[in-house]
């Protein structure tokens, strides 16, 4: 083993998280690409993509836990940052299609040709460039979170009022992105993607690469969240969650801490969205639906908030159930989700992971 001292310095949850990510990445690569298709051990490309989606969801859950679990900001609009990151990636993928679209127009995406637009709107400029698009994946959600947070936290909007305006924010974006005139493909969104960085999105190899990239990003996001929550910044944020006025009396600018925690969270959500889109092959305004954002909070609540790994576990658990129940009992899914939330809140106040960890006294 190289550098055992490094591994032994990690705390147990970290070892489990990083270990699991490495194992999943290795298994997927091996079982999908090396093991032949006929074998019982072969992992289907469908499963690989499903795991990739879960990794993005886990990252999204992580971002919600950072602001809700640690800072006490119950955001019900975090899907908006995920979707914006997704749209930034989707726009790049649209530009990559070039003249291979249905209308074969080298200048304009199909939906613009369909709407009889003559030229590319200014806000699509630059998205042909991969680095520019990746910068936008961070800049757009980050900027929205900053502006939103700045006004909300400076005016000391708290609790349920804040939750409601986060819902309003994502709903407003949903309505805006539905409009064809917005230039983001309206109702249909962006789809029919061909390739990324010159590699076709349809090959098994690319699917595994996307999964591994998502797992790497998840590991990176986890490491960043761990470092932040273990710093003094993290302790201040917990102090704000538990006694906001007290923190203010100690001289902390509560709104500054909240806004930066919110921005960091939005950046992570944006990256998760950007990784999600090439794997599912579509981004449409449905991602802004308020219900999606509420579901995120349910993942974190069920997994156990304020632990980071609990949020990831919750995202996996709920989404595995979702995949199963929407296949087995499609009509029952929402009842199952509601039931999980109610039972989780009643019997597992510290979430599923709370069952396995002892409370610190």
């Amino acid at each position: 083993m190289p550098r055992p001292s490094f591994i032994s310095r990690l705390e147990r949850p970290d070892r489990v998280v990083y270990g699991a990510l490495i194992v999943i990445a290795g298994m997927a690569a091996l079982l999908n690409l090396v093991v032949p298709e006929g074998s019982a051990f072969h992992m289907s490309t469908f499963t690989v993509t499903l795991l990739g989606k879960y990794a993005c969801f886990a990252m999204l859950a992580l971002s919600v836990d950072l602001v809700w679990g640690y800072c006490g900001i119950l955001t019900l609009g975090h899907g908006a940052f995920f979707a914006l990151g997704g749209y930034a990636m989707g726009m790049h993928l649209m530009r990559q299609i070039g003249e291979r679209g249905v209308y074969g127009n080298p200048e304009l995406p199909d939906f613009m040709v369909f709407l009889d637009w003559q030229e590319l709107p200014w806000y699509w400029w630059g998205f042909s460039s991969f680095p520019f698009a990746m910068a936008m994946v961070l800049v757009v959600p980050g900027l929205l979170a900053f502006v939103f947070g700045w006004f909300a936290f400076r005016s000391r909007v708290n609790g349920v009022y804040l939750s409601i305006i986060t819902q309003a924010m994502t709903y407003a974006l949903l309505l805006a992105f539905f409009r064809n005139e917005m230039g983001f493909g309206g109702n249909n969104g962006l789809t029919d993607f061909k390739d990324l960085l010159g590699f076709s999105l349809q090959t098994d190899g690319m699917r595994v690469v996307l999964l591994v990239t998502s797992l790497l990003a998840l590991g990176g996001a986890y490491a960043i969240c761990r470092a932040v929550t273990r710093s003094r910044f993290g302790r201040v944020v917990v102090a704000i969650r538990d006694a906001e006025n007290r923190s203010r009396f100690l001289g902390y600018r509560v709104e500054h801490f909240k806004v930066w925690a919110f921005v960091l969270s939005a950046l992570i959500a944006g990256v998760a969205g950007a990784l999600y889109v090439p794997q599912v092959g579509i981004i449409n305004p449905g991602e802004f639906a308020p219900l999606n954002s509420i579901e995120l909070v349910v993942w974190v609540a069920i997994g156990g908030r304020g632990t980071l790994y609990g949020a990831m576990a919750g995202a996996l658990l709920v989404n595995f159930s979702k995949t199963y129940f929407t296949g087995a009992l499609p009509d029952a899914w929402l009842f199952v989700l509601g039931g999980l939330f109610i039972l989780g809140t009643l019997f597992l106040p510290r979430g599923v992971v709370g069952v396995f960890t002892k409370e610190k006294e």
Partner: protein, 269 residues
Amino acid sequence: MTPAAPAIESRATASDQNASHDVLKGAIIYLEGITVSFDGFRALDELDLRIERGELRCIIGPNGAGKSTMMDVITGKTRPDSGLALFDRGTDLFSMSEPEIAMAGIGRKFQKPSVFENLSVAENLELAMRANRGVWSNLFAKMSKEQSDHRDSVLETIGLTAARAMRAGAISHGQKQWLEIGMLLMQEPKVLLVDEPVAGMTHQETERTAELLTSLAGDHTVVVVEHDMEFVRSLARRVTVLHEGRVLAEGNMDFVQNDPRVVEVYLGV
């Protein structure tokens, strides 16, 4: 400036360091003509008060006398309708925000112990430590040797060395009150405002608290708001009695207790 000068005029000179220094005359907190009304009710009515540097002052008074409002005014939580409040070397408290006042050296302990329950005792002290409050500096902050030494000495002073790693939510009520006082000390304040420190404490804890506060006076200026007369007597330095937003009497405990007006409003006889 004559003591009879109207509040408006003295307010105008507040920014002038020399003039306001004259008014302070060695006091660390100087309040003049403070009026605060809530919906027509005058919580503070032309209140004048001066607290000398290094003294231990007790403020007593019946419910609604304006004790908490006075604390709110000094810490910037409540803005008065009129009046002048100077601190230390003539700083105008009304031109400062709550965090600025806290950083300038006025620390407040609330009536209800409000420690950060999910952080350890030592972490509570760390957050209260006099240090840069900025977001970025806290992201990369590490405690220096002097800082952790200071924290350890405060732990010693408040008698919580053994409980340092415990979750603050899990220690006893009295210990929480001491932790709060420790958090004030970490800020190295010039003035400690202490709101009902012994409410709900056992007899032993009360005694221990009196010792602690007495030992802090001198290096710090300590202002205690308290209902418990026995406790006030055990601290017994200078006592100020508030009534209906004004100072009713001021002096040592025996003097105030024998003042007929105090007997009438406070003891209700």
